[in-house]
């Protein structure tokens, strides 16, 4: 019997790596890992490991500063490099970048360009360099979290932590949802085998003020979705559940990252 979530999950209610539906993978994070940059971070979610370094805000390069919107605020540049040894099989990329990494870079750039208080740094460039050391699913989500940490380390003002997480369904979910006999569970924080098999959604949220311990309820009104990508087929009736689970995951991660930043390692 092939070991995949759609056949084994209904029997055991356990995922391939032994997690329940609402469990995150182990998150370990560190900031200021690289003294040569303005800000840097290392973040691992399960077997996905990412290093991120931020340079700037610094004077923009000639030509770019005079370009569109250069004078109004800082420009965010993102460079994503997926290491050749990150996957199970080594893959050689032609010309230094591939579709996957340039897509992640575009998403990161647009997310942080609008998220950061760039108007404070006119004529400048903030460049973010992301290295994926080991890829095991939820790459975009992990990259967003690592970037947030590195940007906080660099001291670049932002309204709140932008955190991200993936959510999926434990089956192909192509037929309408039956509310009385719900066989499919939403899953949180997908790993690579799950990501390849199941519909997956990446959601990133932010709050305008830092999360407090006791006033979670009041914060709900301030939560904003900053990133939302999905490119798999799914019946629309499942969408709401997945989003809810994903946003809940983002909140959990936000608390973990706050802990990292404050120096108390609750992770």
């Amino acid at each position: 019997m092939p070991l995949d979530t759609s056949t084994t999950y209904p029997l055991t209610k356990l995922r391939l790596d032994g997690r329940r539906w609402n469990e995150l993978r182990l998150i370990q994070a560190q900031i200021s890992t690289n003294p040569a940059s303005s800000g840097s971070s290392y973040l691992s979610m399960g077997n996905t490991a990412i290093m991120c370094s931020v340079h700037g805000p610094a004077e923009g390069r000639r030509g770019e500063a005079s370009g569109s919107g250069g004078s109004a605020g800082a420009i965010v540049e993102v460079d994503v490099n997926v290491a050749g040894f990150s996957g199970v099989d080594r893959k050689r990329r032609a010309g230094g970048s591939d579709k996957q990494s340039s897509r992640i870079a575009t998403t990161l750039r647009s997310a942080f360009q609008s998220h950061l208080h760039t108007y404070l740094y006119p004529h400048s460039t903030i460049s973010i360099h992301v290295s994926v050391l080991s890829a095991d699913g939820s790459l975009l989500a992990a990259a967003i979290n690592a970037c947030t940490l590195a940007l906080v380390d660099a001291g670049i003002p932002m309204p709140g932590l932008l955190t991200s997480c993936t959510a999926g369904m434990s089956g192909s979910a192509s037929t309408p949802r039956d509310p009385r006999n719900d066989e499919l569970d939403p899953l949180l924080d997908l790993s690579l085998p799950e990501e390849q098999e199941l519909p997956v959604l990446t959601v990133g949220t932010t709050t305008s003020v830092p999360v407090g311990e006791n006033n979670m309820d009041e914060e709900e009104g301030d939560m904003k979705v900053a990133v939302l990508t999905m490119d798999s087929k799914l019946h629309y009736s499942y969408m709401e559940t997945m989003l809810a689970v994903g946003i809940d995951g983002c909140n959990q991660i936000r608390e973990l990252l706050e802990g990292v930043i404050k120096g108390s390692s609750r992770a």
Binding site: S37, G84, G87
Partner: protein
């Protein structure tokens, strides 16, 4: 564009004024006792932090960080591949013409089985600097041929990659520099690659002879690519030194008559000559041997010259003409005004090269110190 052009030389030209360059050169070329900006002795390396086996998804990996914050990560991955036999090898086996160079593909291994790629932020893969660096490190890696008949490492790394006549390992070495290089990144990359290769393990072979290979699933019994001394026989340094180790490439510069190892960015900016010297331990004799030398284009050739007061129009008449007199620099054979920077010209004398190699290779010299230091890194 300009950045790319300049990058094809040794490294980017740092933004130092002619006066700063002259000051650096003067203090580094003091006879016998050069004063380095960071107070190191000429043969001392910068402090570094190192760890190995940081990436569980690779066959071997290492990370080294220098105190200035530059870091490199190296991951080694191995894949099994079918050996393409050449016409000649086939013909020899069929026709029995053999005798000479018998089955050399199967025994000797092939240099192209080791692939190396270097990622440096701000550079494309096919820019001159990454290509030059990876060719330099790869050539010493595959060139290191062990002569010890008894060990597994006959034929060096290439020979170790042979599984049987029809199958071999292909080794991918991916080097990742995590930040823009502050100095010429060669020493950092070479040391990290050395450590990653030391920690590289290959699964234990279960098939025998010419069968299609299959391997033991148990990672705990995997064998090191570079075999370790077993605990019973080891522990003595003499036994340890008889094992083949991956080579290291040292960056050496000459300033005046001084020879300086592991230069930082400011030091390399005033170097008369820059040499990359690859060394390894000779498995028979136990001492060090030379694998390759390459000159690296010193960035001092691209610097801006200073203007002596006697030629400076704005200082006309302000100084007596006797104040700066050109003197002959014995190291370069050119007339120079003391304290006024001239971009370096010309090449390097043979005696200087010989001295550089000697300092790197001699017993108790820099090379041994570096190799011993790297062996001291706990390879878990």
């Amino acid at each position: 564009m300009s950045n790319q052009r300049q990058a094809s030389s040794a490294s980017q030209v740092p933004h130092l004024s002619p006066a700063e360059l002259s000051y650096l050169y003067t203090s580094l070329s003091l006879p016998k006792t050069p004063i380095r900006p960071d107070g190191r002795s000429p043969t001392q390396f910068r402090p570094l932090t190192a760890e190995t086996n940081i990436l569980p998804g690779t066959n071997g990996s290492a990370r080294i960080g220098f105190a200035d914050g530059t870091q490199a990560i190296v991951g080694v991955k191995a894949e099994v591949e079918k050996t393409i036999l050449s016409n000649e090898t086939l013909a020899r086996n069929d026709g029995g013409v053999g005798g000479e160079q018998e089955g050399s593909a199967a025994v000797g291994g092939h240099g192209s089985w080791v692939q190396m790629s270097i990622e440096i932020p701000g550079f494309r893969d096919d820019d001159a600097l990454p290509v030059f660096l990876s060719e330099m490190m790869r050539e010493s890696l595959v060139g290191a041929v062990g002569t010890d008949e008894t060990s597994d490492m006959t034929g060096g790394l290439k020979g170790r990659l042979v599984i049987n006549k029809r199958w071999h390992w292909r080794l991918y070495i991916d080097v990742l520099l995590l930040s823009q290089p502050l100095a010429y990144p060669l020493p950092l990359l070479s040391l990290t690659t050395h450590l990653a290769l030391l920690s590289t393990k290959l699964p234990k072979l279960k098939s025998q002879g010419e069968e299609d290979p299959f391997f033991d699933d148990d990672w705990a019994v995997a064998e090191y690519l570079y075999p370790r001394p077993s605990l019973s026989s080891g522990a003595k340094s003499s036994a340890r030194s008889s094992f083949v180790r991956p080579p290291v490439t040292l960056l050496v510069i000459s300033v005046g008559e001084n020879i300086i190892f592991d230069p930082n960015r400011e030091e390399i900016a005033v170097a008369d000559a820059v040499l990359a010297i690859s060394i390894t331990r000779d498995s028979e004799a136990g001492n060090l041997k030379l694998l390759s030398i390459r000159t690296v284009d010193p960035p001092s050739r691209l610097t801006q010259p200073g203007v002596p007061n006697s030629e400076n129009v704005s200082m006309l008449g302000a100084v007596a003409p006797t104040e700066d007199v050109a003197v002959l620099n014995p190291a370069t054979g050119e007339e120079e005004v003391p304290g006024v920077w001239r971009p370096r010209r010309g090449g390097v004398k043979r005696s200087v090269i010989a001295e550089m190699v000697k300092t790197a290779l001699k017993k108790g010299g820099v090379g041994e110190e570096v190799l011993e230091g790297l062996e001291g890194v706990e390879v878990s």
